[in-house]
């Protein structure tokens, strides 16, 4: 187990380095010169050179990367090209809302996917299965920018049950916070839930067809007892992997949903950074999103060890 973890930690670090190179290159590869863009029509050669020097853009690429990485490791991601605020501070402010939305959406997704996926696998081919499969196919196909707007029109405008948008911190007012959370969490959760339902279904279905499941049935266990004792423990690994990927995706900020629902999360920050060509901020946002993804996947690996004794023994 220790070797496995060490190996995975090493892999994660290498992946992070790869990400850092890609993120660093964002500023180098964008069409047009970021300083040039920031200056717009107040362009002046002297001022331009001064600003380039201040941003370190006049240094050789490798030197720039080294300096940037050294600062990034200590949490210094530079300042926003546009506002001059520290990027790290801007990112940290978005973590709370993004985590809240990701957590709530994942809860919605699991509440749908686990029961529905298991039942439709166990009762494969039944009416329940066909309805579940049909619905999950539908929700996977529906784009979030459309369903989000439909929920706003239905639940906020037509029925007036829920606020159309906005974020309230649960620390300030838990009830209002919950109200504001419902629509965005539902928008993302239904889609994630549909993806997961299919994963759960196929994982359970696969385990059901294994020899040990047949043996368990043969020695007299009921169908549900077999599922609980033999099928699910074996299906968990692939289910957890899928859930981990979904969580990474959710934490990365569901860009369009955050934009539609005026949710002050990481995705919206990245979106605004793109719109404003604020490349230093975009760098920070992409780095944060990638890191969260890697960290979640690393945590999933840790879970493997817990779920599967064979991994522990490796």
């Amino acid at each position: 187990m220790a070797r496995f973890l060490l190996w995975r930690a090493l892999q994660t670090v290498v992946a992070m380095l790869g990400v850092s190179v890609a993120v660093f290159l964002i500023v180098q590869l964008v069409p047009g010169d970021p300083i040039r863009l920031a200056l717009g029509t107040r362009f002046d050669e002297e001022l331009y050179q001064a600003m380039r020097a201040r941003a370190g853009l006049d240094q050789p690429l490798l030197t720039q990367y080294g300096g940037w990485l050294a600062r990034a490791v200590t949490g210094d991601l530079g300042v926003s090209f546009r506002s001059g605020e520290p990027v790290t501070r801007l990112l940290l402010a978005r973590l709370g809302p993004t985590s809240l939305l990701a957590g709530a959406a994942l809860a919605v997704a699991l509440a749908i996917a686990l029961p529905l996926g298991i039942v439709s696998a166990v009762r494969s081919g039944s009416l329940v299965d066909r309805i579940a499969t049909g619905f999950s196919q539908l929700w996977i196909s529906v784009p979030d920018f459309w369903s989000g707007i439909m929920y706003i029109l239905l639940f906020a405008l037509l029925l007036g049950w829920l606020p159309a948008s906005g974020y309230v911190s649960p620390l300030d007012d838990p009830v209002r916070a919950a109200h504001h959370l419902v629509l965005p969490a539902m928008t993302v959760g239904l889609i994630s839930g549909s993806v997961l339902t299919r994963f759960v279904r196929s994982a359970v279905l696969e385990a059901l067809h294994q020899d040990y499941a047949r043996t368990a049935r043969a020695k007299g266990l009921s169908r549900w007892q077999t599922v609980r004792r033999h099928v699910l423990p074996n299906a968990w690994i692939s289910i957890v992997t899928a859930v981990g990927l979904q969580l990474g995706f959710l934490l990365g900020g569901v860009v369009i949903v955050e934009v539609i629902f005026e949710w002050p999360g990481l995705g919206r920050l990245a979106y605004d950074a793109v719109v404003r060509r604020d490349y230093s901020l975009l760098q920070g946002a992409v780095l944060a999103i990638a890191l969260m993804f890697l960290v979640v996947n690393f945590l999933v690996d840790l879970l493997y060890g817990y779920l599967d004794p064979r991994v522990r023994r490796r």
Binding site: P31, G32, D33, R36, L37, G40, T41, R42, F43, D44, L47, A50, S80, R82, S83, G84, E85, L90, A93, R94, P97, I149, I152, L153, A156, L157, G160, P163, A164, S165, G166, Y167, V259, I260, F261, E262, P264, G265, R268, L269, D272, V275, R276, D278
Partner: protein
């Protein structure tokens, strides 16, 4: 090379200049945002009792990049900070300049010293008294090219100095008749509390003298202001204002209809027709002082041929182009100043006439013309407009090849002259000087396309030497006719600013740049 913003100035004789008026800010191409408030038109008035309660929630379509008005060029910054800061003078509804933090001013005989008397009894939002040294401190920052976006407006200003507690002097190195526009055109030249100038205090905090005090800014979420009870002017009439950043129009309009938002500028052009019929939403539209145009490279044959340029202009159906760009929210135009503007020239020779276009091309001996039409994705509506233009040019046998660039590259190509034709706009043209001189004078700093007509130069120079606005206007009319006839610019359309608000809101004053001063706004139950 890129437009370096050096703007020439008009001469004007010595006199007190409450009427120095019509010189206002030129918003450079890049700065869609720079626009200053100027012509205000009250769309709705409320003479009822001044009830002062409640929170006004305003949804703006994007978030300020910074609260620092001296640095920012983004319009959301000014939508918000318009209500927190004051300038020395401010534009009145008739486009003249009225007192704000300065109550009166006079100009020396040699036109090189302007003396401003400051308003008594003004306090900063932190309670401290407002004095002349505050003005000097702000202008030190505003005129610093390394920091401030509007420093270019002050190239003729040598020094801003404190005479006494209530008096400041602007010492100039050459007469600057449009100084009032330069110091008060919009809040980019606001007087900010020197307490915040050190460090990065101004990006996230604000201490001003305006009708509302800055309370808090939660990035990605909202900015909260509260009424300043010590405001020196009339109003405000609401207790608090919350600006929320709602980029999705459906969200903004749903919030407006459900009462969660009271006022929004996030009104897509395609929604306007529906909103007009909606009893739960009030809609305000205001012609802007912006225009969008095409021009061609006079250094590249055959675009040096007036017949070719006129053919391209006759081939365009401006109604359709305006529709494509802004649905019903733009007016087709054939001159720089939109109808209703003091400087507007009533001259529109280019009806949509493909036959005449074909004839002119044949006269010029031009066949199989291919045009490299350069656009920037910075202004997406120009892409829609250009698609229509390309198809209309196609109807007269001209093949337009559309090339879309990011704005930085676009500016480079414009500077290098690497294009046949392009589409772009000029914003907030509050003065004839700003609409014509830099663009069409043979020595104009934005005359990239190479137009040169000695007669036009003469009119524009005369207008600069003139004192009287009506006389200047006549000169601009004459210049404009030549500019239009010779298609130095082919003017296309002028968009309207649109606001939507809930029925319980009153006192909304709209300005051509879509900004509104919330000090006049009231909220009833």
């Amino acid at each position: 090379m890129n437009p370096s913003p050096a703007f020439p100035h008009r001469r004007r004789s010595a006199r007190t200049t409450r009427s120095a008026g019509r010189a206002t800010s030129l918003a450079a191409v890049a700065a869609l945002a720079l626009a200053g408030c100027s012509a205000g038109e009250s769309l709705e008035t409320d003479d009822g009792p001044a009830s002062s309660d409640g929170t006004l929630v305003v949804a703006i379509s994007s978030e300020p990049d910074s609260l620092d008005v001296h640095v920012s060029t983004a319009s959301p910054t000014f939508l918000v900070m318009e209500n927190v800061y004051d300038t020395l003078v401010e534009p009145a509804p008739d486009l003249s300049f009225q007192p704000a933090l300065a109550t009166e001013w006079e100009v020396s005989e040699d036109l090189l010293t302007w003396t401003f008397q400051l308003r008594d009894g003004v306090t900063w939002h932190n309670g401290r008294e407002f004095t002349a040294s505050d003005v000097v401190a702000s202008f030190e920052r505003i005129t610093d090219a390394e920091t401030a976006a509007n420093a270019w407006r002050f190239e003729t200003v040598d020094e801003v100095r404190e005479v006494d507690d209530r008096t400041v002097e602007f010492v100039l190195n050459q007469p600057t008749p449009n100084l009032l526009a330069n110091i008060g055109g919009f809040k980019g030249m606001a007087i900010v509390a020197p307490e915040l100038i050190e460090g990065d205090g101004l990006t996230t905090d604000a201490i001003g003298t305006g009708p509302f005090r800055f309370v808090s800014y939660t990035p990605g979420d909202r900015i909260v202001l509260e009424a300043n009870p010590d405001y020196w002017g009339d109003g405000p009439y609401v207790d608090r204002v919350e600006f929320r950043f709602v980029s999705e129009p459906t969200t903004a309009l749903t919030n407006l209809r459900t009462g969660a938002v009271h006022l929004t500028n996030n009104v897509p052009a395609q929604e306007i027709a529906t909103l007009r019929d909606d009893p739960d939403v009030e809609l305000g539209q205001q012609a802007s002082n912006d225009y969008w145009y095409f021009t061609c490279n006079f250094d590249r044959p055959p675009f040096d041929d007036i017949d070719v340029r006129r053919a391209l202009s006759f081939a365009i159906d401006r109604e359709q182009v305006a529709q494509a760009a802004f649905f019903d929210a733009a007016t087709p135009v054939q001159s720089a100043m939109p109808p209703g503007n003091f400087w507007a020239t009533d001259y529109a020779p280019f009806s949509h006439d493909p036959d005449q276009a074909r004839e002119l091309l044949a006269d010029a001996g031009v066949t199989d013309l291919t045009v490299d039409l350069m656009l920037t994705n910075e202004y997406p509506h120009t892409l829609a407009a250009a698609e229509v233009i390309a198809s209309q040019w196609g109807d007269v046998g001209v093949n337009a090849e559309i090339r879309t660039l990011d704005f930085a590259s676009w500016l480079d190509e414009q500077g290098n002259g690497s294009y046949d034709c392009y589409v772009l706009g000029w914003l907030n043209n509050l003065d004839g000087e700003y609409a014509y001189y830099a663009q069409h004078h043979s020595a104009g700093s934005f005359n990239f396309h190479g137009y040169a007509n000695p007669q036009v130069d003469q009119y524009l120079d005369q207008a600069r030497a003139s004192v009287e606005d009506t006389e200047r206007r006549d000169l601009y009319h004459q210049a404009a006719r030549l500019i239009i006839d010779e298609v130095s610019y082919g003017y296309l359309y002028s968009p309207q600013a649109t606001l939507a608000w809930a029925p319980q809101v009153s006192g909304v004053e709209m300005h051509p740049d879509g900004k509104t001063r919330l000090r006049t706004v009231r909220l009833t139950d």
